[in-house]
């Protein structure tokens, strides 16, 4: 953990109300919250590991396994559903050769589904990292994936 992230988590010592925030900071740092990280957060805030684990497993956005370099979040909200999100999911799974919840072998992409991204006017829609890709077709999915796969950059 970088000094900065560790300091920010330490700053929440004795603040159990900041448990979710502390876990978010840890996840921003590592991309996921391992058991070791959960223990560290528990110690820092002075709460039980059971409570930390309870929170991690309750909220969808916490991951307990390392994600790929890019996280794909496909929206399965109502508008996306009626406009064919299932076809987009099939295209993603076929192109990446993984199922929802998995990471590609080269560690480049993780595939997740979310309930609604609140960008229904662009349905069907997905986010890759923080970028929104809308009005998807299977062809646009393939183009987007190639674009990210071709980018040279260091992991977050």
């Amino acid at each position: 953990m970088t000094r900065d992230a560790a300091d920010r988590i330490e700053a929440y010592a004795g603040r159990p109300d900041q448990l979710i925030r502390a876990l978010q900071l840890a996840q921003d740092e590592f991309g996921y919250v391992s058991e070791k990280t959960q223990q560290r957060v528990a110690d820092a805030l002075g709460v039980s590991i059971g409570r930390v684990h309870g929170v991690v497993t309750f909220y969808h956005l916490f991951r307990t396994r390392p994600p790929g370099r890019h996280t794909i979040r496909l929206c399965l909200g109502t508008a996306c559903h009626v406009l064919g999100a299932d076809r987009i999911l099939a295209a993603l799974e076929e192109e990446l050769r993984i199922s929802v919840g998995e990471t590609t072998e080269d560690g480049l992409f993780s595939l997740e589904v979310v309930r609604c991204l609140g960008t229904c006017s662009l349905a069907p829609v997905m986010m890759i990292d923080e970028d929104v890709h809308g009005r998807l077709t299977p062809e646009k999915v393939r183009r987007a994936l190639r674009h990210y796969a071709g980018r040279r950059e260091t992991p977050r």
């Binding site: 399965l76 109502t78 960008t119 662009l122």
Partner: protein, 594 residues
Amino acid sequence: MSQREVLVCSGTACRSAGALDVHARLAAAIEAAGLADEVILTETGCAGPCARGPIVRILPDDVLYVQVTPEDGEEIVREHLCKGHVVRRLLWSEEEDSPSAIPFFAHQRKSVLAHSGAIDPERIGAYELRGGYTALKRALEAMTPEEIVEEILASGLRGRGGAGFPTGRKWRFTLDAPERPKYVVCNADEGDPGAFMDRALLEGDPHAVIEGMAIAARAIGAERGFIYVRAEYPLAISRLRGALVQARDRGWLGRDVLGTGFDFDIELRIGAGAFVCGEETALLASIEGRRGVPRPRPPFPAQSGLYGRPTLINNVETLANVPVVLRDGAKAYASVGTKSSKGTKVFALAGQIRNTGLVEVPIGTTLRELVFDIGGGVPEGRQLKAIQIGGPSGGCLPADLLDVPIDYESLTEHGAIMGSGGVIVLDDTACMVSVARFFLDFTASESCGKCLPCRVGIPTMRDILVRITEGAGVPEDLDRLQELARLVKSSALCGLGQTAPNPVLTTLRYFEDEYRTHIEDRICPSGVCAALAQTFTIDAEACKACGKCAAVCPTGAAHGTPGELYAIDEDLCVRCGACFMACPFDAVIRGAKS
């Protein structure tokens, strides 16, 4: 020449369509043309017509350009800004320059959304210039807490998050609670699939929400506030962060605001992805750093909320209405709307509709005006089938209820709810049983598991729906669904469970035939349920060999010779039903899969 303002919508939808590139190109072209001193270029929040993005608006000319590309941006500078010629090919329709003449805008009444799409949300000065924070000033300098609460009560404002509880009464209860300290919480955990009003408000006009919270805090006597915003909205979070810093710098938040002795500050709390946290007691648990599990009420948060203290929870749109009430006065506010539902409501239009986007109408507007006059109706060649309103807690209303006015009571009477304002339009390609199944999939996976009716009842209902869509439904299923729906509705702990059966109940109420066709005929009329894929054959006696079936068939399965006979090759047939729709002689026979 007077100074012009060029507004570039950079809401999430327009960004995704390339608005930031358009902005960059406009900036460069304005600079190159030597117009930097005469033209103000502004990035705004959502302007509304998301389907037509990126949107560029020129003031004071009041010209709206749609679907603008970076190259178009250069043309706008060259032609419009330099020569004063409107670029007609970029208008919404070639006849109309002014947005106010376009039906999409003409039928709206923008009050809460007045700033979104019109000002730079990252500059507090732009908000102040438009009368921002004058309502807070009035509340602090000229009103007692009692008077503020009375004003909100008199306005008739009701909660915009779903249930429609009178806002003033909530404020009254919290004001009357004796314990200290008290808290104000803004519920920005907009989780309903199909809803993006709060997102747009936070992105487009964050100060309106902050001002509303500060007024609420003054009214009930709170010193601390929290905005609980979902993590899925990164742009909204960053705009809020910036807005809070600016509001503190300008002295609207912090110690001794305006020298009136009023202390108030706001903390941002970011959700971690749990739909149930939109429920107020679950949201409070989440702010306290716990699992977002609801608890029984009473006690209501007004008596015992955050950390067991009196807490006022309002949603984003409700709070954004508060400055409007205080600025215009309760009487003016209450002049809009219906007898029991005052003011305007923001709706998010999505699904199978032409003008997807964000709109605001007086409460009491009919569904027809919303979907057709503003929304432009369903795409060409399709028929409107249903309007899903209110998300997983709401219902599906059929096309023959288009003249129902949108207000809290009318929608509830017909089995839907106002909800947060998500409107998903469904055309004749939608299967209503699948839609009901979709919502129960959602609520089943988002149930926190604390109470049995929700934890077990919803999945049981879902399993019945799965069975029906997979072709294994039995006639008794309909009664079972009704019975389970009644049970869950009456006995679940929180709003999530109590309203989860609504999509099932409304589809059963208005589309029972479609359920029966699935169960008794083993047919999904819209062809959505793959297991109920139909077979198509041609009745040789009825066939007049006109060839219309072959003309529409996408795969060449329908074939034959004009004047003789046509047939459908089952191996090539993709069961789209196009031939069935096209045949003028009812010669195409639709059957269930054997």
